[in-house]
């Protein structure tokens, strides 16, 4: 504990005073002595010039939440880059199904207005409108999203008006997301914007409840590497009807019916908690924070869900699934544990995943000693109880808060959704943390570091000082870690494998981690000529240009 303090103090010395002052607030050492989580600063501006991993509101809105909707065409309104970079890079898998035929899936295409200088000068509204017309004529999509990029807000293009006119012209919904990159302080602003637009315009438009006794939504699951499909598999096995995995492999049609489920599960708390909360307000739908990453975590989530419905058959079936799946994968897991056990990791990933993966790593006998998020809020670290105490600042104020009311027709009480009496519901809430998320902190161990918006310098220093065995991070940090001699796995893309969620995901993950840890090249980094004596490489300089 003291050691870690010293480590951090050493780290801070390189910083200019203002930076030091700022960054200290973003870093917390877990102390079991503390009763509650110390306050961590989060969702505030990155200091200019600091090499952060953060993206922008557009990335959070279009890249994370909106793009996975498979049967809508998403037009990026702006210069070419933003649409281009967010094309095909997030591994949100999508496939045809009974509601969405193959020719209505647009996941592999990229649409951008590709604004040119005259558009910046004279406005891009007309270009956007024309592109929509051409797209509708050519593709006949079920709906269109328009996501704006930085210049749009400045030049005053009214994408809302364009969307409204197009909706009327074409008779399909055209939605406008004013997710200019400069909004907020990270992707987080974009999540919120996306949540708002979808909540206001799509959810509740449908009226077809899927058949089944227990109908649920999985919110904040983007089906990266097929995670959502593995979750659906398990949930169906337990006896649930999955109404919609949102937005991974989701269709516009499914989202319209989102309010017709009995329970919202929340996987990625950061990116989707707004919808969960707003649905609770508007429709009364209860939500449950779940985690399907990790065997024990999956089991725990399934058991909590079963409790919600107070259905012995469901509970029985759940236990059967848990028993069967656990038994199936345990022998393989045990093999991988031999490689993984005792290894220490850093985790910087996603909107709940730095927390989620701690469970899976625990299954493998590994520990996360440093963890953090790029774009989290305090509640993701400390728990939702701190939300009322979070002060809004200039950056967060410009993201509209929707102040919804209970829907006159559709609102029902939480207990009704779950088919419980009021008393049963109150009892349930004591057992199961409905409509609540406790954050990452409680799962960390004494002396571990929780760090918000970790930057390159901090990462480099922490690696040098703590020498972890493995780093879970994004592609930008991956090769940095590796150049430092530390194995790294991309946890936004799973190094193109997956799924990593659920039982099958645990095996995939364990296998991949074991491979990464045991890649023979790690032991061969030092060339044989340096193993014998430190060579005077300077002497050789320029000697061998040819």
């Amino acid at each position: 504990m003291d050691g870690m303090d010293t480590t951090l103090e050493e780290l801070y010395t390189q910083y200019p005073d203002t930076v030091k002052k700022n960054r200290k607030k973003h870093i917390v050492i877990k102390s079991e002595a503390d009763v509650a989580c110390p306050q961590i600063e989060a969702n505030t501006r990155t200091i200019p010039g600091i090499i952060s991993q953060r993206g922008c509101a557009y990335a959070g809105c279009k890249g994370v939440v909106v793009a996975p909707i498979k049967d809508m065409i998403t037009i990026t309104h702006g210069p070419v880059g933003c649409g281009y970079y967010s094309w095909g890079t997030r591994r949100n898998k999508a496939r045809a199904d009974s509601t969405t035929p193959k020719d209505k899936i647009y996941s592999q295409l990229c649409f951008t207005t590709d604004m040119q200088e005259p558009d910046i000068v004279f406005g891009g509204d007309k270009k956007l409108a024309r592109m929509i017309d051409e797209i509708v004529a050519a593709f006949h999509p079920r709906g269109i999203n328009i996501c704006s990029t930085c210049p749009i807000g400045l030049i005053g293009d009214d994408i809302g008006a364009v969307a409204k006119a197009a909706t009327e012209r074409h008779g399909i919904q055209v939605l406008a997301y004013a997710c200019e990159g400069y909004k907020g302080v990270s992707q987080s602003a974009g999540h919120h914007i996306a949540n708002n637009t979808i909540m206001q315009n799509v959810i509740g438009k449908g009226n077809e409840r899927k058949p089944g006794k227990h109908v649920i939504n999985v919110l904040g699951e983007y089906n990266i590497g097929g995670d959502g499909w593995e979750q659906e598999r398990i949930l169906k096995d337990c006896g649930y009807t999955v109404n919609c995995v949102m937005t991974g492999d989701a269709s516009y049609e499914d989202i319209k019916n989102l309010h017709l489920a009995d329970l919202n599960l929340v996987q990625c708390h950061r990116s989707i908690n707004y919808i969960a909360e707003m649905m609770e307000t508007k429709y009364g739908t209860p939500w449950l924070k779940v985690n399907f990453v990790g065997v024990e975590a999956t089991n725990e989530s399934l058991r909590q869900m079963a409790k919600c419905f107070s259905d012995p058959e469901l509970e029985k079936q759940t236990e059967e699934v848990i028993a069967r799946e656990t038994a199936r994968i345990e022998p393989a897991l045990e093999q991988f544990r031999k490689i993984c056990r005792g290894k220490k990791a850093f985790a910087f990933v996603g909107g709940s995943r730095s927390h989620h993966y701690q469970h899976l790593l625990k299954d493998l006998g590994m520990e996360v000693v440093v963890a953090g998020y790029e774009f989290a809020h305090r509640d993701d670290y400390e728990g939702r109880q701190v939300i009322p105490t979070i002060k809004s600042d200039a950056d967060s104020k410009n993201i509209p808060e929707l102040h919804l009311k209970a829907d006159e027709k559709l609102y029902r009480e939480g207990n009704e959704y779950l088919n419980l009496s009021k008393e049963q519901f109150e009892a349930l809430k004591k057992e199961v943390p409905l409509n609540y998320y406790e954050g990452m902190y409680p799962d960390m161990k004494n002396g571990d570091i929780m760090i918000d918006d970790c930057n390159h310098y901090e990462l480099e220093e922490l690696i040098k000082k703590l020498r972890p065995d493995l780093i879970f991070t994004g592609v930008r940090d991956k090769y940095i870690a590796e150049k430092m001699g530390i194995p790294a796995k991309q946890m936004h893309s799973y190094d193109y494998a997956g799924p990593y969620a659920g039982y099958n995901g645990a095996i995939n993950f364990a296998n991949d981690v074991a491979h990464t840890l045991t890649t023979p090249a790690w032991k061969m980094i030092v060339p044989p000529w340096e193993r014998i004596e430190e060579p005077d490489t300077g002497k050789q300089e320029g000697a061998n240009d040819a």
Binding site: I47, P48, I51
Partner: protein
């Protein structure tokens, strides 16, 4: 795959569907990484920087470090001067580069930040340098951004010390891989001529993994070298779109003769490159190079029946596509569709001239096109081969056409950034890849009775 793509010709006059280009700043960032000890800096919202780093990292599978001014709404309204000044101060203090290379974004360009002025007002430690270039995303493409940053290197750094020039050649290599830059260096060095190449990402984006971490790896052109470029006799600008602007400025500013060349990809373009060096410096052609050339000729003749007469769609960045089109013609193939996303009428003029000279008719050539349009062309009349970036893979699969990955970006294969396609050795690599693409397909499609041991 791509069942959603409509059959038949569609009206597509506005915007891009499946673009074949990206925006300026990433090109500027890549160029900046080719200066030793440089930290590229993106003056805009942090999302740009995040995207560019991610995209470059995926292509190169190596670290790409860059900082951002991290605009918020406030900066967007009131201007980014304070963000940039803070950035410069923090970067030198925390990351200690030798030089910061600032590029703008559509955001800061729309705002109209006066970067030179802001830099002047910034705290820059003694001996450290800040340069900048303007890279509005709504003009040109990533190649334009690369070009602009190269030009700014000249504008800020190149100096002519007096009238007499050194017997050395500047090479502006274009937006090519570090492996290509290494190979260009090898060739010029083999010709016995002193070389100043800028930018040079070899050693930066193809850096070895050793026991020691370096935030600024050993590679890259040193500032001293770029300064010295003003004293060179001649500049070879490889690829008009990426390199001419810097060469022109070097001529104007320092009196260094600029020679525009193609990227030295393919036999003719490599000949031209080597002859440019030879002609200027009277260099002798070493045996090694002569042998390599003779091996290319030998291989072209030995393998011609694997590909001659086949039709090809070539797409990607303009300098790459131009050089590849020339090489494909040299191979006896037919460039049926030739497309770049980057705007520029010279592209169409250059390619059309090549086709005319080769007597090839019926091809389509387009600048500022997109892959949706390329797909429409292919649907109208199929080709035997596609040569281009990873983004072609959707079309390749849908239409069952082999794809030889070439240019930037290649996101779904590894090792390629280390493997040069320039020079005569590069020709061999390309011939091998193209031959094998056809032979793999032949083996795949052969009936049992046509599946053969010798090909």
């Amino acid at each position: 795959m791509l069942e959603c793509v409509p059959e038949g010709k569609t009206e597509h006059t506005t915007g891009k569907i499946n673009p074949a280009k990206t925006c300026q700043p990433i090109g500027a960032m890549y160029a900046s990484l080719g200066i030793h000890g440089c930290l590229p800096h993106s003056h805009g919202s942090q999302g740009c920087c995040a995207y560019h780093r991610m995209h470059l990292t995926r292509h190169f599978r190596d670290q790409v470090l860059a900082a951002s001014s991290s605009f918020t709404e406030g900066a967007s309204v009131f201007g980014g001067a304070s963000n940039l000044k803070t950035s410069i101060k923090n970067i030198f203090k925390i990351y200690n580069p030798d030089i910061i290379a600032v590029h703008t974004t559509c955001l800061s360009e729309t705002i109209g930040d006066d970067i030179p002025n802001i830099i002047k007002q910034s705290e820059i430690p003694e001996g450290k340098i800040v340069i900048h270039t303007n890279t509005p995303s709504y003009v040109g493409s990533h190649i334009t951004g690369f070009s602009n940053m190269c030009k700014s290197m000249v504008a800020y750094l190149a100096e002519a010390q007096g009238e007499t020039k050194k017997e050395q050649v500047n090479v502006i290599p274009g937006f090519v891989n570090p492996g290509d830059m290494r190979e260009i260096r090898r060739i010029v060095t083999a010709l016995g001529v002193k070389l100043v190449m800028f930018p040079d990402t070899s050693g930066v984006l193809d850096a070895p993994l050793t026991s020691k971490y370096q935030m600024y790896p050993e590679g890259g052109t040193t500032i001293a070298e770029i300064r010295d470029s003003g004293n060179s006799e001649v500049t070879l600008a490889l690829g008009a779109f990426a390199s001419n602007a810097a060469a022109d400025l070097l001529q104007e500013k320092c009196g260094v003769t600029g020679i525009p060349l193609k990227l030295p990809i393919g036999l003719k373009a490599t000949d031209d490159f080597i002859m440019a060096v030879k002609d200027w410096f009277g260099a002798d052609i070493p045996k090694e190079i002569a042998i390599e050339r003779g091996q290319v000729i030998d291989t072209l003749i030995d393998t011609h029946f694997h590909y001659q007469g086949k039709t090809v769609a070539i797409f990607g960045d303009p300098d790459h596509v131009i050089a590849m089109t020339e090489f494909v013609i040299t191979m006896g193939m037919v460039p049926k569709y030739v497309l770049t996303g980057t705007p520029g009428k010279e592209f169409e003029a250059t390619v059309t001239k090549m086709l005319d000279e080769a007597g090839i008719t019926g091809s389509r050539v387009k600048a500022e096109g997109d892959l949706f349009e390329l797909h429409e062309w292919i649907r109208e009349e199929k080709v035997d081969l596609m040569i281009g970036t990873t983004y072609g893979k959707y079309i390749a699969r849908t239409e069952d056409i082999p794809l030889v990955r070439f240019g930037f970006p290649i996101l779904d294969r590894a090792v390629h950034p280390l493997m040069p396609v320039v020079g005569y050795r590069g020709c061999l690599r390309l011939i091998e890849q193209i031959s094998n693409a056809f032979l793999e397909r032949r083996d795949r499609d052969a009936l049992d009775e046509d599946f053969e041991l010798v090909l």
